[in-house]
């Protein structure tokens, strides 16, 4: 095992790790050695091909199909230089005040998150896309909402020079999306933060991490690691974990830290989602243009959010319920399909948690609550109304008595789409916004860290990602992750001198 010494080690390069790296980069000028480890690869610009299967394999854990222990939901989370910011759509929303109040964390208030979020909105070029760049898939959603009596809102997004490839979730082939791989990480590296890719952190020890750097496989895309393949023990006065909800909790668990942290891995939540489609009589622009321009927020009233979306052939196929001729007919209507993503707001409940198996690999235990299933059914009904109001002649509803509802039955949506038809294992459910596992709180009895990401009882260890959320955020999370990571970095800067002195003494 090769031994190395740094002052600060950051694990993960997504919205959390990338932000922390950039915010701590000024310390490098003062002689502080900062290292960031990322388990995924760094890709050249021309390697973002937009080809579904190969990009999913390169950029997502388990190619985007990470299965829960119960086998009833798949989870999508990124694995690359830039983490999940490489594969999100760049939708940039500030945490709702009611959510932050519900979290009820001492030392964390909405005004603080709002101010920090706006800093990154400015840094990431967040703006509303110009009207002439909105495709019909998005326009029909806005029109359908208006006609059905709902109030849609336009998403602010963080793009610069968007060409409208529609391929955001496969990594932008035009480098338009302003994720950490385009903004914060290059700035951090320029300032002297070292980044090592293809480096999986096996465990955390007292003021140290043990990492395994792997070789680039033959024929694989992406650059080789910056370090030679092999195992490394890296000593550091401060360790900041930002491997995402699943990754961070699993890392702390396999490092044996659950003894002093009984809440470690608990509080996992997500936004369980359906991809729904409505069929129109004419082709619409759907697979060109930014895919996610509008949303309908019904979180408070009905426990769900609807968003426009557009996915790729396999992703679409697997998210349509059923098989055979009906499924094929819908797939062959692709140029005429309007798509809506249905997200259920899902509060953290006991039992939904992250553990690790004998090999230290993460296992996500997730059972659907009655509340979540009811939210998905209500959301499906609302989406069906919006599709029909926008002119769709048929709507695919996985929790319908029949999965394809024709326009002549639009008046019976509430009867056709019903709880009793929601059968797990038949109805495809996927989730992308993974939260919790290292939740913030007051003490080790109720949480893993305090409101500044400091792990209880281990002042040298910090967490800076969505695992910090003590409950669902109920919106797209990346901006809130960056705001929280900014807080973590601020506290590290304040305490660095003492922590590093203690680290060197130990």
């Amino acid at each position: 095992m090769t031994e190395k010494n740094y002052d600060i080690v950051i694990v993960g390069s997504g919205a959390g790790g990338g932000t922390v790296a950039k915010e701590l980069a000024p310390l490098v000028r003062e002689g502080v050695r900062v290292l960031l480890l990322e388990q995924g690869a760094r890709f050249r610009d021309d390697e973002f091909t937009g080809r579904e299967v190969e990009m999913a394999q390169d950029l997502y854990e388990d190619a985007g199909g990470f299965l829960t222990a119960e086998g009833t939901m798949t989870l999508a989370f990124g694995r690359a230089y830039g983490g999940s910011t490489v594969v999100y759509t760049g939708t940039s929303l500030i945490a709702p005040e009611r959510v932050v109040q519900h979290w009820g964390l001492p030392g964390l208030d909405h005004a603080d998150l709002d101010r920090r979020s706006r800093k990154y909105m400015s840094e990431n070029n967040v703006h509303l896309l110009e009207g002439d760049l909105l495709n019909e898939n998005n326009q029909l959603f806005a029109e359908g909402c208006r006609k059905a009596g709902y109030q849609a809102h336009q998403f602010p997004i963080n793009v610069k020079g968007c060409q409208g490839s529609s391929l955001c979730n496969l990594g932008c082939p035009n480098q338009a999306k302003q994720g950490t791989h385009r903004v914060q990480l290059p700035e951090a590296e320029k300032a002297g933060v070292e980044v090592v890719t293809r480096a999986s952190v096996l465990r955390i020890e007292d003021r140290a991490v043990v990492a395994r750097v792997t070789d680039k496989p033959d024929g694989a895309r992406g650059l080789p690691s910056e370090w030679a393949p092999g195992d490394y023990r890296i000593r550091a006065g401060i360790v900041i974990v930002a491997g995402g909800s699943v990754g961070s909790a699993a890392l702390l668990l396999r490092s044996g830290l659950s003894t002093g942290l009984p809440r470690l891995g608990e509080g996992f939540t997500s936004h369980p989602a359906h991809i729904l489609v409505g069929e129109h009589t004419r082709p619409i622009t759907n697979d060109v243009g930014h895919p996610k321009s509008y949303y309908l927020d019904r979180a408070v009233e009905e426990g769900y959010v609807l968003e426009t979306c557009m996915y790729f052939p396999f992703t679409t196929a697997k998210n349509l319920a059923g098989f055979g001729p009906d499924h094929s007919r819908l797939m062959r209507a692709f140029p005429r399909l309007q798509m809506i993503l249905v997200l259920a707001c899902d509060h953290a409940v006991p039992g939904n948690r992250i553990t690790v198996d004998r090999d230290g690999k993460p296992v996500v235990h997730y059972r659907f609550t009655a509340e979540v299933i009811a939210s998905l059914v209500r959301a499906t009904r609302a989406a069906a109304r919006i599709f029909f109001a926008a002119g769709a002649v048929a709507v695919h509803a996985p929790s319908g008595a029949r999965t394809l509802i024709e326009a002549k039955d639009a008046g019976h949506i509430d009867q056709i789409i019903d709880l009793r038809h929601f059968k797990l294992g038949k109805v495809p459910v996927a989730a992308a916004h993974l939260m919790g596992g290292c939740g913030m709180g007051r003490t080790a009895a109720d949480s893993v860290t305090d409101a500044w990401g400091r792990v209880h009882g281990l002042p040298w260890l910090r967490v800076a990602d969505s695992s910090l959320f003590p409950d669902s955020l109920e919106i797209n999370p990346y901006l809130t992750i960056m705001a929280l990571a900014d807080r973590v970095a601020e506290k590290v800067r304040e305490e660095a001198r003492d922590l590093l002195t203690a680290g060197r003494a130990s």
Partner: protein
């Protein structure tokens, strides 16, 4: 491509796949090779236990129709094959439903993961975006 997980059940796998995606009936040899390669690649990344479970499920789907129709899956006509898989999809046993869900996902990966399928269904996304449509 990794080890041939599906080779021992190849005719049955193809029959099941044609029921999930009827258009697979029209695939030529190269099309089937591409479909199976995508499925095998996906399986190569999964634990050995998962691969064993998949093989067991495929074999189970092959023999279960005997108890209803007196014939194995390969002996059924296309209508009965479809109705049988629909009954599995609607099964009161979550274990069967989610097993079939996983199998169905693999077949859809193999079929719709091929660039030819994207063209076939009219999917036209292009990295050049709007420019490619002008």
């Amino acid at each position: 491509m990794a080890a041939q997980v599906l080779a021992p059940v190849d005719p049955l796998f193809r029959a099941l796949a044609r029921t999930v995606v009827p258009e697979a009936e029209r695939l030529d040899d190269q099309g089937w090779r591409d479909l199976i390669a995508l499925v095998e690649d996906a399986l190569a990344d999964r634990p050995e236990g998962i691969r064993r479970q998949l093989l067991m499920l495929i074999r189970l789907l092959g023999v279960l129709p005997f108890f209803r129709y007196g014939r194995t899956f390969l002996g059924l006509d296309s209508g009965r094959r479809r109705r049988f898989l629909e009954s599995i999809q609607e099964s009161p046993l979550l274990l069967l439903r989610r097993g079939f869900w996983g199998f169905r996902t693999l077949v859809l990966l193999g079929y719709y993961g091929r660039p030819e399928a994207a063209a076939e269904i009219g999917y036209r996304a292009d990295p050049r975006g709007w420019e490619a449509r002008r």
